[in-house]
Symmetry: C2
Subunit: 455 residues, 2 copies
Amino acid sequence: MKLFDASIYSARRQALSRAMGSGILFFPGSAEQAYNYKANTYPFRQDSSFLYYFGFAQPGLSGIIDADSGKSILVGDDADIEDVVWMGPQPAMSERIQQIGADASITTQALQGWLKGKTIHYLPQHHADRIFYLAELLGKSTDEVKSGHSMSLVHAVIKQRAHKAPEEIDQMEEALYITAAIHTQIRKSVAPGKYEAQIRGIAEGVAFANQARLSYQAICTIQGQTLHNNDYHRLLKEGDMLLCDIGAENSMYYAGDITRSYPVSPKFTPMQAEIYDLVLKAETESIEAAKAGVRYLDVHLGAARIITEGLKQIGLMKGDTDAAVAEGAHALFFPHGLGHMIGLDVHDMEGLGENNVGYDDTVARSKQFGTAYLRMARALEPGFVITVEPGIYFIPELIDMWEGEGKFRDFICYDKLAPYRNFTGIRIEDNVLVTQHGPVILGPPIPKTRQDVER
Amino acid sequence: MKLFDASIYSARRQALSRAMGSGILFFPGSAEQAYNYKANTYPFRQDSSFLYYFGFAQPGLSGIIDADSGKSILVGDDADIEDVVWMGPQPAMSERIQQIGADASITTQALQGWLKGKTIHYLPQHHADRIFYLAELLGKSTDEVKSGHSMSLVHAVIKQRAHKAPEEIDQMEEALYITAAIHTQIRKSVAPGKYEAQIRGIAEGVAFANQARLSYQAICTIQGQTLHNNDYHRLLKEGDMLLCDIGAENSMYYAGDITRSYPVSPKFTPMQAEIYDLVLKAETESIEAAKAGVRYLDVHLGAARIITEGLKQIGLMKGDTDAAVAEGAHALFFPHGLGHMIGLDVHDMEGLGENNVGYDDTVARSKQFGTAYLRMARALEPGFVITVEPGIYFIPELIDMWEGEGKFRDFICYDKLAPYRNFTGIRIEDNVLVTQHGPVILGPPIPKTRQDVER
C-alpha cells in the first residue's frame, strides 16, 4: 500500500475545495465487485478520483471535502477481530487520516446523519452497486441518483486531474518501465508454434513480479484487425503478426498503455514491412505534432492524412488526400481514434464522460465512422499525457460491406485489396507528455523500428 | 469457446423443466463488469447457471426454459458491423441455438413482450446491474426484484448442479491438471530472496498458457495466518513458509481449488514439520471419512478433533478432546470450515445461498466461531465434489484477545504459545469426488507429504 506525502493529498483537496467554492463534495470509494458470486470477487480497484484525493486503495472507505469549511473527512471503520482474522491487521482510522492529511474521520454509520440536509456533490458512478448505495444514503430514488451527479464537480475534477503533476509523471514512468519489461519479454518469446495465450501469460507474470498488474485486458493476437480482441486461443504461425496492446498499472494505480506489432517469423514479409513503416511514420510524426496549443483532433486528422498518402503510394487508395480524409475514406483502414488521455485510468477520467474530458466548446464530436471514436479532440495543454496509437487494419467484413455499398470508390482501390484480406492489422502506440518545450515520450525506449522488432 | 454436445444442454434443461413442472424459467446472462470505468471491464465471467443450461460464455445473451411447453429459447442479437470491427465475427443466433439444442431464439428487443403476463422464475442475482436490468424488463421495483427470486427454482437448480455428471468430472480433472502445473512451477520457484508477487505471477502465466485462468484471487503469502491474504508484497526469507491457495478455472469454467504450504528454506524447521504433519493427517483422514451418507459437518468436527488431539500431544492444548471441540476451543487454531462444494463455482452455487447449498432440514448452521464458517454440512451424496482443507494457524491478535478474555483456559495452553506467535499458518487442500465406492481425489497427485514439498 503506497501513498504520496500527506501534503500532496491536502493540496489537491484544497485546490478542489477552492474551485468549487461551496457544498459538500462526496467521493464514495468503490466496493468489491463480484466475479461469479458475491464473495468471489475480482481484484479490487479503487475509484480513481478517490485515489487522487484520498489515496487509499482499500474498499470500505469514502471521502468528504467540505468546500464550505475547507476541511476533509475520511469515512470508514476500524477493523474488528473478524477483519483481522480474514484480512490481516489494518491501520486505525486515526492513523489513516494522518497518512493523507485529512482533518477527521467518521464511521460509516455516522455518515448518513452527517450528510443530512447538506448540499451534496458527487461524480457519476460506473458501478451499479454505488447507485443503490447512494440512493439509500441520500434518501433518493435510483433514478434521481443516476441523473443527480454534479456537473460542476465533474468539470472541476477533470480540470485538476488532466494536468499531471511531477509526482504523477514519476508514477507513470514506473508503470511504463514495467510495461517495457513486459514487451521485452514478449518480443523475445514470440515464435511460430506457440499459442497467443502463452505469450499473453507473460504479461501478468512480469506485472506481478513488479508489484503491478495490468491496466486493461491485454490484446495479444494474430488477428489484430479485430480491435478489441480478447481471445488468446490461436496458434502463432510463420508469416503471422502478433499485435500486443498491453500496459501495466503500477502499485499506485497509474496506467501504461503500449502497443507493438511483432512478426512471428524472424522478419516481416515485404508486404508487412511496407505497412509497418507507414504506421510507424504516422506514429512518430503524430508524436512530433502533439504540441501544446494544437487540437488533438488535428493531430488525428494529420495521422489520417499520412496513412492515406502512404496507402496511395502503395496503390490501395487514390484521389485527393484531404478530400479522402474529410469524407472519412481512410477509416476503412484506420477506423479508430488516434488516442486518449491517460493517467490513473487508461482512458483517463472516462467515467466522468468522454466528451467532458476530450471535447469542449471549440471542438464538437464527429459523427463520421472512425473519427467518431476519437476520445480526445481538444487543444493540448502542458501536463496532459496522451496516447498516440495509429494503426492500419484490413477487416474483410468491413471491406466487403463498403465495396458492396459502392462506398468511396473514388478513394479506395477495392480491386487491389484481395492480397491484403488476411493481412490482419498493425498498431504502434506510445504515451506522450505534452510540455511547453514539446512532446516527451514517457518511459524507457521500447523498440519500435522495424529492425528492432525483427529478430 | 468450448461447448458440450447440444444433447447435454437439452437434457439438463428438460430435467429442470420437469422438476419445476410449470412456469417460465428465465436465466439472464451476466453483463460485463466495470473495472475503473464502464468501458474498461474485468475479464468477462458468465453466470454459472447460465453456463450450465445454455453454455455460452459471451455477454449479451439470456436463456428461457418454458416449463409449460418444455421448449427453450436463447435470447440475443446477431452481430452488426460495429460488433465485427471491435469484437470479431460472431456465430449467428440461428447457429447458436443449434450448438446448444435450443428450440428457438428471440431478439433482446422482443424479450419484454415475450415475457409479459407470464409467471417468471429467476435465480438470485449477485451483480447489482442485473437487478436494474430485471426491474426494467419485468416492470418491477428493484426491491421487488431483490426479494422476488424463485426459491423453487433455487432448490431445483441446486439439486441438479450438486451432482456432477461424468462430462463435468472430466472438466474438473482438466482444471486440476492445470492447477497441478501451477503448483509444480511454484514449488520449484520458492526460494529466499524472492517476493511473494514473483511466485504469484507464475499462476497466471501457467493458467493462460493452458487456455485457462484462475478460479479465485490466489493466496500466495508468507503470512498464511491471515486467511484471505491477497497482498503479495512481502520478501521470502529463510525459515518462512509460503501458503499457496491457488486454483485454475479451465476453458469451460470448471474450478480447481488446491492449497499447498511450502518451506522457503529447503526444509521445514522441526516446529514447522510437527504442525505440517498434523495438518496433513487431518487432511488425509478427513478425505477418507468423506463417504456417501456421512454428514460433512461430522467430517469437519472429526478434523477438529484430530487437530485438537495433535495439539494436545505437542503441548499447546489440553483437557478432553470432545469437550474442547464441542465448545469450539480448537477454532483458535482452525478458525474456518473444512470445505465446500466445488464445480462451476469455486464455492459451488454460493450465489444461490450458502445455506441452500450446504444445509438442509437435518443440519442447522452453527453460530460458534469457527464452525459457523463451514459452508457445507449436510450428508454427502455420490456425485458431490467437495474441498477438504484443514489448516492450523497462529493469529497473534486472536490469541491475545482470547487470552485476555480468559477464554478456554481449560483447553488452551496459552503459556506455551509464545514460541508460535510468528509461526503463521499451514493449510493443505484437495478436491474430492464422493462416489458409491468411497472418496476419490480428483486431478493428478500434487505433492503434499513433507518429504515431497521439501527440496
